[in-house]
């Protein structure tokens, strides 16, 4: 009768023996398996080790020369060896000498391969921005990341206070907004994303194109470049607007181009199905990639969801006339 402790010691010795054999690759019954994956060795090590542990294996590891790793996996009478070696900083080769015990090794390695592929694909699917689902719009990070460049503009008029949106278009504090917002004003209060309030001067106004420039002092690291914008939109294309309707900075709405461009007093406008509220005018509009495509002009009277956008082309023409 061997005591449990002795039994464990024997198992360990046996394990070590297998480990040595595994290193020298003296006993190989199974088909050697070789596959390279586009990830650093530490990451593949983690993925492979986690997978084996999930299958109930015990995993021992040993560092090899020049950054390689040997994994010795054991579960009951199944055991085997995986060697990971770097194939540059960004790629790793997985090699196996799975050799002892049951014959289910090939299918097991296939599963491991599928698991790693799924791990890699899981995130590649995530990268291209998905159009928003109905009910809960998913806003692409490329759009959200520009939230800092959006500002709220406020002015006290004789009849009532007015408030609308705009966005910074260059590092020196030039702000684009709609002309109808600043009509009759020389100065407005600009509220930045972080809550700072600055004095803004209206420096250019074009009532025909309904666009205006407001200037504030300071330098700004985040701004939305008009030059990097996109002009032609497709019907049915998803768009996002970031603005400050009802005085809430950084409110994001999603919507869709729902018709061909319309001509109103010789100016082209995009018609969109998008939530637009009082105060949205002057908000930048982005495509799913986060490119600037338009500015919110306003909504169709009496609705909250039919809106009109001033296309990039008009913005460029307006800016060029400076």
């Amino acid at each position: 009768m061997i005591s449990a402790r002795k039994h464990r010691a024997c198992l360990w010795l046996f394990g070590c023996l297998i480990f040595c054999l595994c290193s020298s690759m003296a006993v190989v019954y199974g088909e050697p398996y070789r596959q390279a994956y586009p990830m650093p060795i530490a990451e593949l090590d983690q993925v492979v080790t986690d997978w084996f542990k999930l299958q109930g294996f015990h995993v021992d590891r040993r560092p090899l020369e020049m950054g390689g790793i040997e994994l010795f996996c054991r579960k009951g009478d199944e055991s085997g060896c995986i060697v990971l070696s770097p194939r540059s900083a960004l790629a790793t080769q997985l090699r196996t000498t799975w050799a002892w015990g049951k014959g289910s090794n090939v299918s097991m390695l296939k599963e491991l391969n599928l698991h790693i592929q799924a791990y890699l694909n899981g995130e590649t699917q995530k990268t291209p921005p998905q159009p928003p689902k109905t009910g809960g719009p998913m806003v692409p990070p490329q759009v959200l990341s520009q939230i800092e460049s959006v500002v709220c503009l406020k002015a006290a008029l004789s009849e009532a206070d007015t408030q609308f949106s705009g966005f910074i278009v260059d590092p020196h504090g030039l702000i684009l907004t709609t002309a109808h917002g600043v009509k009759g004003l020389e100065e407005v209060t600009v509220v930045l994303y972080d809550g700072r309030q600055l004095k803004g001067t209206v420096i250019k106004i074009d009532h025909h194109r309904d666009l205006a420039f407001v200037d504030v002092d300071g330098t700004f690291s985040s701004y939305i470049s008009v030059a990097d914008g996109r002009n032609l939109l497709g019907i049915g294309e998803w768009l996002f607007t970031v603005g400050c309707p009802i005085d809430l900075r950084g409110t994001v709405y999603g919507g869709m181009v729902n018709g061909p461009p319309r001509r109103v007093h010789d100016q082209l406008l995009w018609q969109v199905d998008m939530e637009i509220h009082p105060g949205s005018s002057g908000s930048p509009v982005f495509d799913v990639e986060g490119n600037l495509v338009a500015v919110v002009k306003g909504r169709f009277r009496g609705t909250d969801t039919v809106g009109f956008l001033i296309p990039l082309e008009t913005i460029v023409l307006f800016a060029r006339d400076m």
Partner: protein, 655 residues
């Protein structure tokens, strides 16, 4: 006689029952569970002291012959079997005889051990007279809940357990337990609330909205609980106005409710109305009526607010109160560690992170923070290391103040120097995250992961941390690109990683840029949305790959052939410069410029072959030739090429 006994038991149960939470007897929540050791029918020992690091164990005292006393136990058993991952541990304890227990085990096939008590343990837990008696034991063997009696008490016990399970973030199990209750009693408003909050915690906003809406249509408590939850859902969905309107409605209807003030506080904070937000958080803490997890959340938020303005001691008190209400509150537990960290009290910080890890050993946040604290402590203890770092930091700080760049450029401008990079803490904007330290976790993890590849050398965190301390630079100063750049130059880092973290209602948005400290160019901008912490580890691994790829593409290693013989080439780059086994290089030849109309036209260098590294030494590497247009010779230029996996597969070139 037996019948008479049962009636007595039942009537006592009705009298004493429903004492969930604190009880009239000697057993109260918050006290340590009396420890014991018992055997099951097969003689296996079970010792409660061995469970002290387990998050939760349910001790269920029952009568093996009385079905009513087993009702809740069997529900728990089924759930534990169905949700094995959720780690719902139940021990049945009974005074019944061995043969009665055997009969019960044969009939019910329970997944839990049935421990045979001879009276001692039942007395300790005051469970001799009334069965079932249920004692829920939490982390560190602290009693969290104590219930006596079946029937209605079982229902209350299950709801409480669902709440506890929700606190442990086992949302599936929490939903399942509440479903179990709702099935038997569709009017149980609390169970339905737990279910809706489980959906909210899972990020299933539509489901949560549906459940809370249905709840809000019920009169009385249902309406209040439902609207409270709806306000939270709308806040998460970014429908601020709707959220505020609902919060106001709840305030008017049930002015004593606390939770809507947390929702309002969050909305105000993200609108940069800090003072108003603070007032709301304070109200949330003062008001008494709230579910325990809501109350804990309120304490944590006020704690976070205090920490954000540097009131660390106050913050810690609040975090402690949060954890007292919810022992599974990993956020508050690790937030406490962050306040110590900010004060440089690494040992206390480490203790807090370790405690957080006992709540969930797979928590990336706590694991990374604990690792960092360990490193900082190790440096403090190692005197030689400390001296080296002190000197280095002093030297760097002096250079920074003098605005002096580090070492001069080497003569050989073609050969790459090591790619050194550093991260400075990201500026945090937007809302007040429930959990502190995201920036630290990100920068620490990225530094470690980049370092591990061998291609990039991230500046030791200890040095960056100490230097910032010495120069008294905080994240707001570092938001200034000029400051960050100067810091990078002083640290002799070629690249500096900096950026912003926006805390949005539905997650965190990272906007990060790499800046070249020599040219001020921005070779890479990354934006990433982290929606839950569940996949954080993977997200960081992906980010690491993205950065690494950009670095290899924009700053390929460059060097020279030192020797070339037959199929073997030695190059003047080694592990210190970032060469990793298997790296491929193109051997390139500069083209002779063409003179045309008085101007010299320079073409791109031409690749005349490729090599692959098979052995790496500190300052040199050996490579084998993959292909060549002409034999390679000494002084031929080499340039790193991004790995091509397809080619790699076919070559089978393992070293």
């Amino acid at each position: 006689m037996k019948y008479g006994m049962k009636t007595l038991v039942l009537s006592v149960a009705m009298l004493v029952g429903l004492c969930g939470g604190t009880c009239l007897g000697g057993i109260t929540s918050g006290q340590m569970a009396p420890v014991f050791s018992l055997q099951d029918v097969s003689g296996t020992h079970y010792d409660l002291t061995e469970m002290k690091d387990k998050p939760m164990i349910v001790l269920y005292f029952f009568d093996a012959q009385s079905r009513p006393s087993q009702e809740g136990l069997m529900s728990l058993d089924q759930l534990a079997k169905r949700y094995a991952d959720a780690d719902l541990r139940v021990w049945g304890i009974t005074l019944s005889t061995k043969s009665q227990v055997k009969a019960f085990v044969d009939r019910a096939h329970p997944g839990f051990p049935v421990l045979m008590d001879h009276g001692g343990v039942s007395d300790l837990y005051e469970a001799r007279l009334i069965t079932p008696t249920v004692c829920v034991v939490g982390p560190g063997l602290m009693i969290m809940d104590y219930f006596q009696g079946g029937g209605k008490t079982t229902e209350i016990m299950l709801v409480r357990l669902a709440e506890r399970t929700l606190q442990r973030k086992q949302t599936m199990l929490a939903k399942a337990i509440s479903d179990e209750v709702v099935k038997k009693n569709p009017d149980n408003v609390k169970a339905r609330t737990v279910k809706a909050y489980a959906a909210l915690k899972d990020g299933d906003l539509d489901e949560a909205e549906k459940s809370f809406k249905a709840l809000s249509k019920k009169p009385g408590k249902g309406e209040v609980l439902g609207k409270e939850g709806l306000a939270a859902v709308y806040a998460k969905k970014g429908k601020t106005q709707k959220a505020l309107t609902l919060a106001l409605e709840v305030e008017q209807k049930a002015p004593e409710r606390a939770y809507v003030h947390v929702v309002k506080g969050d909305l105000l904070f993200s609108q940069n109305k800090k003072k108003e937000a603070e007032a709301e958080y304070k109200k949330a803490v003062q008001k008494q009526s709230a579910e325990p997890f809501q109350k804990a959340l309120a304490y944590n938020k006020l704690g976070r607010f205090n920490a954000s303005i540097g009131k660390y001691k106050k913050a810690r008190e609040l975090y402690d109160q949060a954890v007292e209400l919810d022992p599974y509150y990993i956020e508050a537990t690790s937030n406490k560690g962050m306040t110590y960290e900010k004060e440089g009290r690494w040992s206390d910080a480490l203790q807090a992170y370790r405690k957080a890890l006992t709540l969930n050993k797979n928590d990336t946040f706590a694991a990374v923070l604990a690792r960092k604290a360990e490193e900082m402590l190790a440096v403090q203890k190692d005197i030689a290391q400390k001296k080296r770092i002190d000197k280095l930091v002093k030297d760097l700080a002096a250079r920074y103040r003098k605005q002096k760049k580090s070492d001069k450029l080497p003569q050989d401008t073609w050969t790459s120097r090591p790619m050194v990079m550093t991260f400075v803490d990201f500026q945090e904007k937007g809302g007040l995250a429930e959990r502190d330290g995201f920036s630290t976790v990100l920068t620490t993890e990225l530094s470690e992961k980049l370092n591990a590849t061998g291609r990039v050398k991230a500046v030791e965190r200890v040095i960056v941390e100490r230097l910032l301390e010495e120069l008294n630079l905080g994240s707001s100063e570092l938001a200034d690109p000029e400051t960050a750049l100067r810091l990078g130059q002083v640290l002799a880092a070629k690249l500096i990683g900096t950026g912003t973290l926006f805390f949005l209602p539905d997650g965190t948005l990272l906007s990060m840029r790499l800046i070249d400290t020599e040219t001020s160019a921005i070779p890479k901008v990354v934006t990433r949305h982290f929606d839950t912490q569940a996949s954080l580890e993977k997200e960081i691994a992906t980010l690491n790959r993205e950065l690494l790829k950009a670095i290899v593409e924009k700053y390929p290693l460059q060097g020279f052939v030192v020797q070339a013989t037959g199929n073997k080439v030695m190059i003047n780059l080694g592990s210190r410069q970032g060469v990793v086994l298997g790296t491929r290089f193109e051997v390139i030849e500069e083209q002779e410029p063409i003179k045309y109309k008085g101007r010299l036209l320079r073409g791109a260098p031409k690749a005349i072959g490729a090599i692959e590294v098979v052995r790496v030494e500190p300052d040199l590497s050996y490579a084998r030739v993959l292909n060549q247009d002409r034999p390679f010779k000494t002084d031929d230029k080499v340039r790193e090429k991004l790995a091509d996996l397809v080619a790699m597969e076919t070559l089978h070139g393992a070293p």
